[in-house]
Structure formats: structure tokens, C-alpha cells
Symmetry: C2
Subunit: 204 residues, 2 copies
């Protein structure tokens, strides 16, 4: 009357994390369902007990990945109310989380970008909505800058443009680092980013 019971949610997470690992090593296209199954230590058919399709697995991985990153950043910047310190933390934490995960996790981000941009018009995967993710990121940074301007710490600038620029710089530098670890010293570049953005925002 009562058969084998497993925690569906826990197992689903196990599969997603196995999938994230495989995606990061092989990329979305070359990663096969059987690879994910093997990594999770289960049979291929079992995946379909928890996910509707490969895309569904991918979307779940995407969401978990970016949610974790966003949480990490928001936790860090909520520790202070000083706009300068918030920006400094945001930049540092962004680069740090990349450094600590190595290039595997960076690789999967590349696929998320590629997939997210390619499917930006199709509403199939609403979890993979990079527009929303970037919008939210921009709002966070814009509000820090606006607050800094209001407090008279920063000179008046177009906060939206500067926010876009900061996000772009973070992404773009990471992109170069993914391509060539030896050419880009992520730790030292952090200081340059902070120097350029914060010093240039300071009111003189």
C-alpha cells in the first residue's frame, strides 16, 4: 500500500547539479543526456521522471546558477550603507565568485549567454530571461550610484549608463579571462576597475 518514497525535490537538485557539471565541461550541445545520467549515478530514463526535456534541465541549471550569484552579491552589498563601499564590494565579489569557481563555471555562463541571446524572442524558457537578469542588476547598481549622488559623494552622472558600463566591464573582463587566464590577472584587474569607476565618480 505504500511503496518506495524519495524526496523528489532533493533528487531533482542532484540531477541539476550533475547537469551543471556536465554542461560546464562539454557545453550545452555536446552534453548528452546519458552523460548527465552517468554523472548523477542514475539511468537516462530517470531524468525524464524529473524533467520534461533537456532544455528543461538546462533552464533549471541556469536559474540556480544565476540566483546563487545574485544572492552572493546582494548579501555582500547589504553589509554596508556607504555607496563607495557598496560598489567596491560588488566589483570584488563578482570577480571573486568567478575566481573561486574556476573556468568550468565560467564556461557554462558562456552557454547561458549564447542560449539566452539566441532564444531572446522565444518565450519558451522564461527562466532563461537574460533581459530580466541584466535589468535587475542594472537597477541595483543604478540605485547605489543615485544614492551616492544624493549624498554628495559622487558627481552627477547618468547612473543608468554608468551602471551598464560597469556591468559590461565586469562581463567583458571575465570573458577575456575565460579565454586566456595568463593574459588577465583577475585579482589585479579588480583594483583597476575599482580605481577607474570609483575615483572617476568621486566629486572633486
Amino acid at each position: 500500500m505504500a511503496p518506495k518514497i524519495v524526496d523528489k525535490e532533493v533528487k531533482k537538485m542532484e540531477i541539476v547539479h550533475a547537469a551543471i557539471k556536465v554542461f560546464s565541461e562539454k557545453g550545452m550541445v555536446k552534453a548528452k543526456m546519458v552523460d548527465i545520467a552517468r554523472e548523477a549515478g542514475i539511468g537516462k530514463g530517470t531524468i525524464y521522471e524529473y524533467f520534461r526535456s533537456k532544455e528543461d534541465v538546462f533552464a533549471s541549471g541556469f536559474q540556480i546558477f544565476f540566483q546563487a550569484m545574485q544572492d552572493q552579491i546582494e548579501t555582500a552589498i547589504s553589509s554596508t550603507s556607504d555607496p563607495v563601499e557598496k560598489l567596491r564590494l560588488l566589483i570584488t565579489v563578482s570577480f571573486k565568485s568567478f575566481l573561486q569557481h574556476g573556468s568550468d563555471l565560467a564556461m557554462i555562463m558562456m552557454d547561458f549567454w549564447a542560449e539566452g541571446i539566441r532564444n531572446k524572442d522565444e518565450k519558451i524558457l522564461d527562466a532563461v530571461d537574460l533581459r530580466k537578469i541584466y535589468y535587475e542588476f542594472r537597477v541595483i547598481i543604478t540605485s547605489i550610484i543615485d544614492n551616492g549622488i544624493k549624498k554628495g559623494v559622487f558627481r552627477p552622472v547618468d547612473s543608468h549608463h554608468v551602471a551598464s558600463l560597469l556591468i559590461g566591464a565586469l562581463d567583458g573582463v571575465m570573458l577575456q579571462w575565460i579565454m586566456d587566464h595568463k593574459a588577465i590577472d583577475l585579482e589585479k584587474i579588480t583594483d583597476s576597475v575599482i580605481d577607474l569607476f570609483i575615483n572617476c565618480l568621486y566629486k572633486k
Copy 2:
């Protein structure tokens, strides 16, 4: 005794340009050989008279695409010897070339990135060597900045880091623009990039 003659090089270029169009619309994976053939107005088999594989077609497209971009930028910055003006032109031309081509061409760049990063260890496609391309780009910008420092126009900075940062900012802002044209005004952001980088480099 003298059979049909076609200009192999011209036809090869026709195929590559058809391929670039198809790649930009569908992406590397979804673009089929038969699509490229149809776009070029030829049979599928003919492509294999000019290219060894799909990857070979992709690599050729890659090379032509980036070479054109690099030529455009180098032509622009060679028109002046003023470091400030060189930087201003480099930023403007980079964004302009993106704007004029629309998002199709931006899409293919995304695939080049993804493909280039994924195969960065495999030496199969040495034409698709993003490391080299970014290195060369960095050299160009570094030399402009160093020259500016030498002339006493710019304050002394780590030119390599600032160059990486500028390239990153250009790429990263374009990435956001690709994702959401409405959220990013590429023309107006150009001014912010110039403002931030050039003003902050100025010696006071």
C-alpha cells in the same frame, strides 16, 4: 580540351558570405549545410568542393568577420596621431560597426565567442584563435595609452589593465545591447565610455 572555368576564390567567398548570413540568423548549431547551400544558390555537395567541413566554413567566416572589424578600426585610428583622438575614434568606430550591422552580425559574434572559448585548447581551428585576436587588440590599445603617457597627456596607469578594461567594457556593453536594444542606447553610451575612460586618463 578547355573545360568550364570558375574563379575558385570568388566562389569560395560567395559561399562564406552566404554562410555568415545563415550562421548569424540561426547560430552555428542550427545552421545546416543545406541552408548555406540554398542561401548561396548552389547544391550542398558543391560546398565540399571548396571546404573540407562545416567547421572549416565556420572558421573562414570567423576570420573574415574579425579581419574586417580589425581593418576598420586600424584604418580609423591611423588617421590621427593624437592619443586622445585615437581612443575616441576606437570607441566610436567599434560601436558604430555594431550599430550599422544590426543584431544579426552581433549574433554570429556570440557564436564565435562560444565556439572559440569552447575549443580554446584544441588546436583544430587555429584561425579561430580568440586569444590571439584579443592579444592583438590589447597591444593596439596599450600602445596608444603608453604613447599618451609618454607625451604627458595621460597620467601614469597600468596600460595593460586599462586596455583589458576598455576592451571588456566595449564587449560587455555590446552584449547587453544584443540582449535588449531598448534598454541600451548604444549611441549615448558611447559618450559615457569616452567620458569615463578618457577623462579619467587625463593628467590633472
